[in-house]
């Protein structure tokens, strides 16, 4: 811990020896609030104090509004007194800055939106506020969610609390670092090609990308609309279930929101895993995965066998094409979605221009960073005349083959397991100059988005340098409750998810 930062704040009513509030899981925090051990105002103030002390070290927050957060906390405390409290009432939760939140900076990590204070709430934000959660602040992210290291943010890179010389992963790197450093008990994230799962793995926390369509995209700044999906990032499977219960649900304002009955995503927690068939795709354990990562994942699978699970070999032969396919489809959709940033209705406008075209071109050249511009150019190119069939349509056909691989695999197994990322956290700058190397760090996560399946990552070990390894669990469509139980049973038997970065209290 840095000099001058006291190790852990305790709330007044706690006796020494009791667990400091910031180390509690979201579930334990919720229980503490329900039992009256501390109020939401106390818990929220404590997290805000920690964010002010430690946040700059990791650069994981881009906006705080203490008055607004504390007003929500007071409201939550009043609701509790009035007998109107649910599981998330008074629980502080940070939002990835991709979510529009009324009255908050909503920048998407970009200079283009660095002056944008949203006039409305995203559906996810609205739902969490309705559930009584307190908005703790906005977290840093790769610009427009385009990145795997959180180095493309206009606000600068986020640093991994496990080793500040390494990246936290991306694009939800600020949310991952905030949860890892115990600056928030939970945070929202979004995942287009692995942006929840990969940072969760690299930062030693849990993250879930639900089935496409389960969480509304309304008010979530669009990157690749057929792939984008929001989900929870927290410290345990149980915590993710509590958050997803509030985040999921039909919303008419998102044309691809699914009309399904409400679910309790925690309903399967505790169920026995005997006989569960775990599919192990040979492609996940081929050359290219770091030995320490393979070892930790294999140990996790051995743990599952001890819990009564069986393993089945499966293959995903087209998975190797998921990165090329993704880098056609996602930029194509992005080039269309990001056309709206033109300096007319909101956001940045270049100060000097002679005509409308020059205003557009300079606004976009100055407002977007290099990676975002690169992807818009790729997308524009693959959609242009003469290349549309060779790239875009071909990529869509391969997308179907990739989805069919999963359908064949799920005929033989209940869940699929493998590493979330081929490596643990890499060093800042290590891959920044080589986009292709950076893109390949999502080799194990992208196929899940292309198929629209749910996937999660939980901590399952540390490498030789003490950096966390993530276990990826992929389920069939709408199997989130089952997947959360699969993760939960592992967390009852092991303590990897309770480990904290070296200078953070566990």
């Amino acid at each position: 811990m840095d000099a001058g930062v006291s190790p852990g704040f305790r709330t007044r009513r706690e006796s020494p020896g009791q667990t400091p509030v910031h180390t509690l899981t979201l579930k334990a925090l919720s229980d503490g609030l329900a039992a009256g051990a501390f109020s939401s105002v106390e818990a929220t103030s404590l997290f805000l104090k920690r964010i002010k002390a430690l946040g700059p070290k990791y650069n994981c927050f881009v906006a705080l509004d203490e008055e607004r957060s504390l007003a929500q906390a007071r409201e939550a405390d009043r609701a509790r007194v009035a007998g109107r409290a649910g599981a998330l009432t008074g629980v502080p939760i940070a939002h990835k800055d991709i979510f529009c939140a009324k009255g908050w900076l909503s920048s998407c990590g970009s200079k283009m939106l660095s002056n944008f204070v949203s006039p409305y709430d995203a559906h996810v934000v609205e739902k969490l506020i309705d559930a009584g959660a307190v908005t703790l602040g906005k977290t840093n992210m790769d610009e427009f969610a385009m990145g795997s290291s959180n180095e493309t943010s206009w606000y600068g890179p986020v640093r991994n609390p496990w080793d500040t010389q390494t990246v936290p992963g991306g694009s939800s790197g600020g949310s991952a670092a905030a949860v890892a450093a115990r600056l928030a008990p939970g945070a929202t994230g979004t995942d287009t090609g692995g942006s929840i799962r990969q940072p969760a793995a690299l930062s030693g926390i849990c993250g879930l990308k639900p089935t496409y369509g389960v969480v509304s995209r309304y008010g979530m700044i669009a990157f690749a609309s057929s792939l984008d999906q929001a989900g929870p990032m927290a410290r345990s499977a149980e915590d993710m279930g509590l958050m997803l219960n509030a985040m999921a649900g039909f919303d008419a304002r998102d044309s691809t929101s699914l009309e399904r009955p409400a679910e309790d995503y925690g309903r399967d927690l505790g169920k026995d895993l005997s006989g569960l068939r775990i599919g192990l795709p040979s492609e996940f354990f081929a050359d290219g995965v770091a030995p320490d990562v393979a070892k930790a994942v294999e140990a996790a699978i051995a743990q599952y066998k001890a819990l009564g699970c069986e393993t089945v070999e499966v293959t995903l032969p087209n998975m190797r094409l998921s990165v090329p396919v993704y880098y056609v489809l996602a930029p194509a959709e992005a080039s269309s979605n990001l056309a709206r940033f033109d300096g007319v209705r909101y956001g940045y406008r270049t100060p000097k221009y002679r005509d409308l075209d020059e205003m557009y071109e300079k606004t976009r050249a100055e407002g977007f960073g290099a990676e975002v511009k690169r992807r818009i150019l790729i997308g524009t190119y693959v959609l242009s005349h003469g290349y549309y069939d060779a790239y875009y349509i071909r990529a869509q056909k391969l997308r179907r083959l990739i989805a069919q691989d999963f359908a064949s695999a799920f005929a033989k197994c209940d869940v699929i397991m493998g590493p979330t990322s081929p490596t643990t956290a890499f060093r800042l700058g290590e891959k920044a100059a080589d986009p292709v190397r950076m893109y390949l760090s999502d080799i194990y996560t992208i196929a899940v988005n292309l198929a629209g399946l749910p996937g999660l990552s939980i901590p399952c070990g540390l490498d030789g340098k003490g950096l966390p390894v993530g276990l990826q669990i992929i389920g069939d469509y709408f199997r989130e409750a089952q997947m959360l139980n699969v993760a939960h049973r592992y967390q009852l038997a092991t303590d990897w998810h309770l480990r904290a970065p070296p200078d953070i209290d566990a």
């Binding site: 880098y327 300096g343 390949l440 080799i443």
Partner: protein, 111 residues
């Protein structure tokens, strides 16, 4: 470590492309992003590498495969033809770069 080796881009054997500087400048114009001459070469170099990786797609036979646009087979919903939006013009325009009398201001487009 490089977890997975990207194929080497070879414009001689690729049936589709050898991306040029002109392609970059054309895409930039279409996307309304100013890319100046000095930048164009650096952007080209990166895009050539990325398309080298993308070219791997061309090796697979996709005859008879239906393109997949979306993760779920959805039919788009229709809503009742009624007004659902309240007038929030002033609120929405409060975040615009330049507004006058309820109108967004842009440079003159008709002489």
């Amino acid at each position: 470590m490089i977890p997975y080796a990207a194929p080497v881009f070879n414009s001689d054997t690729s049936p589709f492309m050898a991306l040029t500087r002109e392609d970059v400048l054309r895409a930039a114009r279409l996307a309304r992003i100013r890319v100046d001459d000095a930048e164009a070469d650096a952007v080209l170099e990166q895009l050539v590498r990325i398309f080298g990786m993308i070219e791997e797609m061309q090796a697979v036979d996709v005859t008879g495969v239906e393109p997949m646009a979306h993760a779920q087979d959805l039919t788009l919903r229709l809503r009742d033809d009624v007004v659902t939006e309240a007038d929030q013009r002033a609120l929405f325009q409060s975040v615009a770069p330049r507004v006058e009398r309820g109108l967004y201001l842009v440079p003159k487009v008709i002489e």
